[in-house]
């Protein structure tokens, strides 16, 4: 608790929770490399995966930042979230192992030459999302619209759109891993990548 790094993080997070954007950005930039280390050490050894886990961890920290109590040490709080998200990623990977296409590296198809059945599968998947998220995925991933373009009619900032897109893709990829979901297609595999 008296660790100077923890005091600095607590100070940044306190100011961030009061709405200071610069403090929040600084906080996220400082913790990201530390969390990356935690995640890699916990077994997210494949760099590609660990970056996904890191991003999910950052989103989780963002969504659950109200669970930090001022006065509590920050590092154990952060590490706990990172450990949970790492374990969660492994759980999902174990579930996906039954998938015959798992491990097959699928290349990014050119948007112009996409198999029409892919869009059908995608429609079915997108039907499981709320309307706004599905709209954002369609606009940005299928039409290639920018975050600002997509957000304007929705009244969302570009940043908010990007976060919503990231969350929607995470939800889609976890749904693809479930046994009752439609089979994984090359298109969704693409979506998991950055």
């Amino acid at each position: 608790m008296d660790d100077p790094r923890d005091l600095r993080w607590a100070n940044l997070l306190r100011r961030a929770n009061r709405g200071e954007r610069q403090a929040y950005l600084m906080f996220l930039r400082e913790i990201a490399p530390v969390l990356r280390g935690v995640i890699v050490a916990r077994g997210g050894a494949r760099i590609d995966d660990s970056e996904d886990i890191l991003q999910n961890t950052l989103i989780a920290i963002h969504e659950k930042r109200y669970t930090w109590r001022d006065g509590d040490p920050v590092a154990p709080w952060l590490y706990s979230i990172a450990r949970y998200k790492t374990a969660d990623a492994f759980r999902q990977r174990r579930r996906n192992r039954a998938d015959p296409l798992d491990g097959v590296e699928l290349t990014t198809p050119d948007d112009a030459t996409v198999d029409p059945s892919v869009s059908y599968d995608l429609d079915r998947l997108l039907a499981g999302l709320d309307d706004t998220s599905a709209h954002i995925v369609r606009e940005m991933k299928l039409r290639g619209a920018s975050a600002a373009e997509t957000g304007a009619p929705l009244g969302m900032s570009a940043g908010a759109v990007r976060v919503a897109l990231h969350r929607a893709l995470a939800r889609l990829s976890s749904r693809v891993g479930q046994p009752d979901a439609p089979p994984r297609t090359s298109k969704e595999k693409t979506h998991e990548n950055r």
């Binding site: 709405g19 950005l25 996220l28 950052l58 669970t67 709080w77 940043g159 990007r162």
Partner: protein
């Protein structure tokens, strides 16, 4: 998406947040669940007729107070389980309850003639006791699991088990004022079994419901 972009996007969202008082949320859920359980109990079970006559029998007091103590001591454990990095020293106090229970069983074996051990143990209401404690715990554990969802448990199954421990303690304490089995030889075995079932079911529910 690159991580730097994500950070920029997260930082661009308007970000003032009010810390959620998880303690108050959980206690509120406990009160609501406990009230539903109390109402069910009043409607379908009811307090035993001779309660006032046997009120000061230590074995009987223990039948109510031990599960209640377990439930109360489990509250900080449950709270710590839904707060990332949360720690509590209350978990140590929980072990007192089984220790006292074992002591009570020893005393009961001492004062009960060996010929009556078996009848005291089997009692006459196992078939009521087990499902009653389980059913009465459901409103409490459901309310607690719902409240726990606003936390961020690192181990969802463990958090679910903690919710089950609280619920089992409350429901066993309430059921105990209906139950006319007064020997620790009975309740140490069957209450414990029913409560274990509650904890197990709640842990299983937590594993699925408390993902985030």
């Amino acid at each position: 998406m690159r991580t730097d972009d994500l950070i920029a996007a997260l930082g661009a969202e308007p970000s003032p947040v009010r810390p959620v008082p998880l303690g108050r949320v959980v206690l509120g859920a406990l009160a609501v669940g406990g009230a539903v359980t109390g109402a069910l109990f009043a409607a379908f079970w009811g307090v035993r007729m001779d309660l006032s006559a046997v009120l000061f029998d230590p074995f009987l007091l223990a039948k109510t107070l031990l599960p209640l103590a377990l439930g109360v001591l489990a509250v900080p454990v449950g709270l710590a389980s839904i707060r990332p990095g949360g720690v509590t020293r209350a978990a140590a106090g929980l072990w007192l309850v089984p220790v006292v229970l074992v002591g009570l069983v020893a005393v009961a074996l001492w004062v009960t003639p060996p010929a009556l051990w078996w009848t005291s143990f089997v009692g006459h209401s196992i078939a009521t006791c087990l499902p009653s404690i389980f059913l009465l715990s459901v409103p409490v554990s459901a309310a607690l699991l719902a409240a726990f969802r606003s936390g961020a448990p690192e181990h969802p199954a463990r958090a679910g088990a903690a919710a089950g421990l609280i619920a089992a303690g409350v429901s066993a304490a309430i059921y105990s004022v209906y139950c006319t089995e007064d020997s620790p030889l009975f309740y140490a075995a069957w209450y414990t079994l029913a409560m274990a079932a509650v904890i197990g079911a709640s842990a299983l529910a937590g594993r699925h419901l408390l993902r985030w």
